[in-house]
């Protein structure tokens, strides 16, 4: 199970697929106009709606700031992720790729990097604006956003995993919704806590360190599962 992935890494099949897939997808994303902004747009709409929902009271806003921004970011990336695989499944690019390269690790890593570049990192970079909407001071907003940026890879990893698990036609939606919860919940718990601590001035809080550890754990533990799910879909 794990050995084919690591063997491919050693043999160089990893880089052979990663860069072409990444380059091609980035080109498609930028060429088709604003399609890649979908996650960012959802995030913006969600946060704006949340500000209106919570109301003008500054105390209430600053208390819920981190929670709303992390929730919005997590949902936005989760929503953007399935399209990343379905486009390749529909036009047959993925089956063709799988036929040539039995190891899908390069392909999968390209997709995760794509999600980071087009979804979670832009969201993290835009989040200071929304932290300010949520009545944080600019300095605190920047610190809180830095914590979101630290969590950007984690959000992309979880979203890519749930999207891969849901990529099968039947029963796919069931799987990804059932599985999003246990993988995303710890990220949100620690991410929100890290942002809140950062906003009070303590950037390198224990929660931030746990978020980092979680990212490393997910980076190792989730891709084999996601790649297996993609292979099952391709059968």
């Amino acid at each position: 199970m794990l050995t084919p992935a690591w063997c491919a890494l050693a043999k160089g099949g990893f880089t052979r697929t990663l860069w072409p897939v990444l380059a091609r997808d980035l080109k498609t994303a930028t060429r088709t106009g604003g399609g890649w902004l979908q996650a960012l747009f959802f995030f913006a709409v969600f946060c704006t709606a949340a500000v209106f929902a919570i109301g003008p009271e500054r105390a209430a806003l600053s208390q819920t700031a981190a929670a709303m921004i992390w929730l919005g970011g997590a949902f936005a990336v989760q929503l953007a992720a399935p399209g990343i695989f379905s486009v390749d499944l529909e036009d047959g690019a993925l089956p063709a790729l799988a036929a040539e390269n039995p190891s899908l690790s390069g392909y999968y890593c390209a997709k995760v990097l794509l999600l980071i570049m087009l979804a979670s990192a832009p969201i993290a970079l835009l989040s200071p604006v929304f932290f300010i909407f949520f009545a944080l001071s600019p300095g605190n907003a920047l610190s809180a956003s830095a914590a979101v940026l630290m969590g950007a890879p984690t959000l992309a990893l979880t979203a890519a995993t749930t999207a891969a698990l849901g990529s099968g036609s039947k029963g796919g939606g069931v799987l990804s919704t059932a599985l999003a919860a246990p993988i995303v919940t710890p990220v949100i718990i620690f991410g929100v806590a890290a942002s809140e601590q950062a906003a009070t001035g303590v950037f390198f809080s224990p929660e931030l360190r746990i978020l980092g550890a979680l990212t490393l754990f997910y980076a190792v533990a989730l891709p084999p599962i996601a790649i297996s799910a993609l292979r099952v879909t391709l059968e």
Binding site: M1, T161, L165, G168, K170, G171, V174, L175, T177, A178, L179, A181, P182, I183, T185, P186, I189, A221, L222, I225, S228, A229, V232, E235
Partner: protein, 266 residues
Amino acid sequence: MATVFDTFANPARFEALSKRLAPFCLISALLLIVIATPLALAFSPADYQQGDAVRIKYVHVPAAWLATLAFTFMAAMSAIAFVWRHPIADEAAKSAAPVGLAMTGLTLFTGAIWGKPMWGAWWVWDVRLTSALVLFFIYLGYLAVWDAVEDRTKAAKYARLVALTGFINVPIVKFSVDWWNSLHQPASIIRMDGPTIHSSMLTPLLMMILAYSLFFGWFVLTGVEASILETRAQRRVAPTPTPSTMTEAPRQPLADAASDTARANG
């Protein structure tokens, strides 16, 4: 090691084992429950803080124990199935899911019943309760996979992945009370310094935990045995060469359609 696997991996041998072991598990479980329940309800002390409400512990803790045990078992079986691709491992995991689901639900229910007099609230969104609720949904998701995906082989493959990923939640459920300040009380049995409960309470508690565990053993053994028999019957009815995976049991005149599906999923 090879012989241990042989017993479990060989369907005929497993069936022979299960026929002897499963009834023993069930009878021991029932005996233990019969002995432990009077102890729990009458012949053990009330708590000096919680009074007689503490007796709910004797049904809440074993249910919670079984909820996490079942999922750990499912994850282990799924990992074995992943590596060795043996269908009995998949069936073992699938057999454990209904009891895990029921026990998680029971944990949440008895927990709420215990929480109301103790904390004043039926439910709080603290980490242990939330992750237990998430566990409940993961069990539902696991069972849903077997139903939603038609091809049994494919369903097994997705189900393994659900079990393995969902297992991330289990340490959170177990260790959340130690890692965070939680409303729920921290660990009092499996601790570095040993149990903190007095033996007059610990004995019935351990008996109930053992009883529930034996029930779990019976539940899984009989589930796998039933799957083996169902596949065998199906193969004899339609003896076409099939890949070495378990397939749906066909409609039989024996039972009507509704209970047929219910039992196949039970």
